[in-house]
């Protein structure tokens, strides 16, 4: 028997989630844009103080006022690492490394995946079937291992990391978009356009593509989060960007050896930065998904 629908709650929660996600993502993008110009220390140049812990939290307000208004030299907010590099400056500047790699990989895989998805959904023939099997093949390997091997083979440059991530994430967009196109192609307005004599490529471009974008757009927020995690992960195992590039994963890896000695700060702060960013993108994606589903 028909059950009365559940009242749709959670609208306010989704709104809050959206604001938090958008706030974090906005902050990270801002840091990526202006980071190198606002940090107190050069992220590549070692200072004399090695493995200095961060100042106690209680002193932060005083230190902040001293730095901003009394011309005192900036403290090492997050301490310094074993080579004497300022952890605070490097954590901020690393936002650019991680976000550029993740966003570029996401944009590329989005473009390639969605385009191929429209083609594979709209034209179903031997070539597009072969394409789907190829994407099955790509997706059947563990993502992290594949990325590691690809970067190891191609060389540890930004460009190669971006390409490796693109290759891994494009099948996700391909599949999502193709599924959407498969239902779209049965829709009446597609047939109406065919009956009007509109050429296939034009139908694909003007009717199918814009109407098939929604799931891929929602996915892209989630993918950026994963891409950041993967970029950091690759660097952590030594298959990512080269030191001393400021990059969160690399910083965590460099600091990891010191943790047993009690030096927790060189790893903790970049770790928080990764978590926060990934959470921000995930929250944004989840909120968008909820909004579109409702």
């Amino acid at each position: 028997m028909a059950r009365p629908e559940m009242a749709r709650g959670g609208g306010a929660a989704a709104g809050a989630l959206f604001r938090i996600g958008a706030g974090i993502v906005g902050l990270m993008i801002a840091l990526a844009a202006v980071g190198p110009w606002i940090v107190p220390y050069d992220p590549y140049t070692a200072t004399e103080v090695v493995s200095q812990p961060p100042p106690p939290l209680l002193q932060w307000p005083g230190l902040l006022i001293d730095t901003l208004f009394r011309g005192a030299p900036a403290p090492h907010w997050f301490g310094t690492d074993a080579s004497g590099l300022d952890v605070f400056s490097r954590t901020i500047v690393a936002a650019r490394t991680d976000l550029v790699i993740a966003l570029a990989a996401n944009a590329l895989s989005f473009g390639i995946g969605v385009t191929l998805g429209v083609v594979a959904g709209y034209y179903r023939n031997f070539a597009t079937e072969a394409l789907m099997r190829l994407s099955d093949l790509l997706q059947s390997f563990p993502v992290f291992i594949t990325a590691m091997i690809l970067v190891a083979l191609a060389g540890r440059s930004w460009g190669n990391i971006i390409l490796a991530l693109t290759l891994l994430y494009a099948p996700i967009y391909l599949r999502l978009t193709r599924a959407e196109v498969l239902t779209l192609r049965e829709r009446g307005f597609i047939e109406a356009a065919r009956a009007a004599g509109v050429p296939d490529w034009s139908i694909a471009l003007r009717h199918v593509l814009p109407n098939a974008l929604r799931p891929a757009l929602v996915q892209s927020s989630v993918t950026v989060g994963f891409a950041i995690l993967l970029t950091a992960g690759l660097s952590f195992v030594g298959a990512g960007v080269r030191p001393p590039t400021p990059e969160w994963g690399l910083m965590i890896a460099t600091g990891a050896g010191q943790i047993v000695l009690g030096d927790w700060w060189p790893s903790l702060f970049p770790g928080i930065a990764v978590s926060l960013t990934v959470f921000g993108f995930a929250a944004l994606g989840h909120a968008l998904e909820r909004r579109h589903a409702g």
């Binding site: 559940m6 749709r8 009007a196």
Partner: protein, 595 residues
């Protein structure tokens, strides 16, 4: 009449359902249901009919809530009972049948379990007895082989079958009151008639009181004793059925159109058109089987038959929107099957299609003006933007709308208005031929009449030819000059509208016409014998019968029918029939209904 003497089994007083904003969706409704009486509840979409029907069970669909009033069943107010007690009343005293039956069935339980469970809930019987009860109920609602069907799951049932299961479930605990919310929307006429006959008999034999929510005048006229009319949340009229229909002319019969001049060459011709969809196991679905048909300029040809008879596929093949497996289609003197892709696209200006669901027919992201301009962009490179805009405005006016709707998006308009614009778009390139694929079936009866009037006017003004695919015979009779009846991919009868409606010869055509519900309470289906019923539902087009396709359902079938295929043969009176007994079934035979 029974209704006058029978006792009131349900009384609603001041029943009010409110939206979260405090607006009354159902506003102080008073109604009585008496035993053995079928009460129709009608009114425009959004009047609150379904909401009221639900409220009678003490239920409200979110976000609405029950805001006041009483529902008295057996002297107790259902609305003031604790939830536990109210639940005991639902199902035992009052049953509900909803539309979209397949969605209302549990997908993971076989239907026998579902029916039995309702009975067990209210009687406390054991599982064994519940199964027997379920089988008994399935037999009662006319399901063949109920033992085996009780083990079926929702997805294994057709829409008609699922609807019967639902009524079996509703009747399982033998409730004194049944509430049915548009129970036959989306069903074929034959299945609709079988189903409503059964409901009617249940009400009359068992003394069940029934509330039937429907917008269909035919259903009201044929099955209801009393009609309640709702508008904007209020019951505005409560009349005996005859009074409800008093003053309405039954005009369909009078408007049958005469054929246009026969001299002109056909605008579209199909010869031996077939379409088979291959399946994985080497079998194939025979959607269209050797169809030959021609339509002249200015002529409207109706294509009728149950769902699954291949009507829609035939229409698509005529436009080569899907590739026919065999056969030839000639459009405006050119053979479509030999055209190159480019030539075919250019010729598409001459033949258009209007589909069933207007909301699906327009790109939801585009403004309607842009959608209407699309065919012009393809076929009229000579027109500039200004000329195109003027043409779009002209088209919109042609279908009786204001040019300002060009700025609207599909979701902003009502279905009837949007369907007019779909017709306008089809006319943009001045086609000679339009396939109308059930263009009225999702519309309200009023919008339906308006669309038919519009199509007639456009045809008279523009001389365009129509293939009108529909299962609604009233609309077909009002619009078409000629009617083609299809069954399992084959044409079984073809003739003028008058010939088909006044003197149907093929047993299938006769069954279709007999299942049709006239909007006339003086000529009720339930008051006359039904010798022309075809039983059950259309067989699968995969394993076709060896003989006549209808033989298994045909009331006229002889042994020979089961083994011999029939040919489409001409018969006196401007028609062809695929039945070797057609000549026997002439006009004075028992069933003739004025339409």
């Amino acid at each position: 009449m029974l209704a006058e003497t029978a006792s009131t089994v349900l009384a609603a007083r001041g029943l009010t359902v409110a939206s979260p904003g405090g607006r009354a969706v159902v506003d102080g409704a008073d109604l009585d249901l008496r035993s053995g009486e079928i009460v129709g509840l009608t009114g425009p979409s959004g009047a609150g009919k379904s909401t009221l029907a639900f409220a009678l069970l003490g239920l409200a669909r979110a976000p609405f809530s029950l805001a006041g009033g009483q529902v008295l069943i057996g002297g107790r107010d259902l609305l003031s009972l604790p939830e536990e007690a109210a639940r005991a009343v639902r199902g035992r005293d009052i049953g509900l049948i909803v539309q979209n039956p397949r969605a209302a069935l549990h997908p993971m339980l076989d239907v026998g379990r579902q029916i039995g469970r309702i009975w067990r809930t209210h009687t406390g019987g054991d599982a064994r007895a519940a199964r027997d009860r379920a089988v008994e109920m399935l037999r009662l609602v006319g399901i063949n082989d109920p033992d085996r069907r009780a083990a079926a799951f929702a997805h294994e049932l057709s829409g008609g079958m699922a609807q019967r299961v639902l009524i079996a479930a509703a009747l399982a605990a033998d409730p004194a009151i049944l509430v049915a919310d548009e129970p036959t929307s989306g069903l074929d006429v034959t299945v609709q008639a079988q189903f409503l006959d059964m409901m009617w008999r249940a009400a009359k034999d068992r003394g069940t009181a029934m509330l039937l929510v429907t917008q269909e005048p035919g259903v009201l006229a044929n099955y209801c004793d009393r009609v309640l009319t709702m508008e904007a949340g209020r019951i505005v009229a409560d009349r005996p059925t005859r009074a409800h229909f008093a003053g309405r002319a039954v005009t369909a019969r009078a408007t049958i159109r005469s054929l246009p001049e026969a001299a002109a060459a056909p605008v579209v011709t199909a010869v031996s058109l077939s379409k088979r969809f291959p399946l994985r196991d080497g079998k194939a679905v025979h959607a269209v089987d050797d169809l030959t048909l021609s339509i002249r300029p200015g002529e409207a040809v109706g294509l009728v038959g149950e769902s699954g008879s291949g009507k829609t596929t035939a229409g698509r093949c005529l436009l080569r929107l899907i590739e026919p497996t065999a056969g030839r289609v000639t459009l405006a003197g050119r053979d479509l099957s030999t055209l190159s892709a480019g030539d075919l696209r250019r010729l598409r200006a001459k033949a258009q299609i209007v589909r069933q669901d207007p909301f699906d027919s327009f790109d939801p992201r585009w403004r309607l003006g842009r959608s209407l301009r699309e065919p012009l962009d393809v076929h009229r490179p000579d027109m500039d933007a200004v000329a195109k805009a003027a043409r779009v405005a002209e088209l919109i006016r042609l279908v009786g709308c204001e040019p300002a709707v060009a700025e609207a998006r599909p979701r902003d308009l009502a279905a009837g208005m949007l369907q007019r614009l779909a017709i306008a778009r089809a006319l943009a390139t001045e086609p000679a031929f339009i396939v109308l694929d059930e263009p009225t079936s999702v519309l309200t009866p009023d919008a339906r009449r308006e669309i038919v009037a519009l199509l007639r006017r456009l045809q008279d003004e523009l001389g365009v030819a129509y293939l009108f695919i529909s299962h609604d015979l009233t609309t077909v009779a009002a619009l078409c000059h000629r009617v083609v009846v299809m069954y399992l991919g084959q044409i079984v009868e073809e003739g003028t509208t008058a010939a088909i409606f006044d003197d149907p010869r093929h047993p299938y055509t006769r069954a279709l016409i007999a299942a049709h519900l006239d909007e006339d309470p003086a000529n009720r289906r339930v008051d006359r014998p039904q010798p022309d019923r075809v039983e059950g539902e259309i067989p699968s087009p995969i394993d076709l019968p060896t003989g006549c396709y209808l033989a298994s359902r045909c009331p006229m079938a002889l042994d020979r029918c089961g083994t011999e295929r029939q040919a489409l043969a001409p018969l006196a009176g401007d028609r062809t029939v695929r039945c070797w007994r057609a000549a026997e079934l002439d006009t004075d035979n028992e069933v003739r209904h004025a339409l």
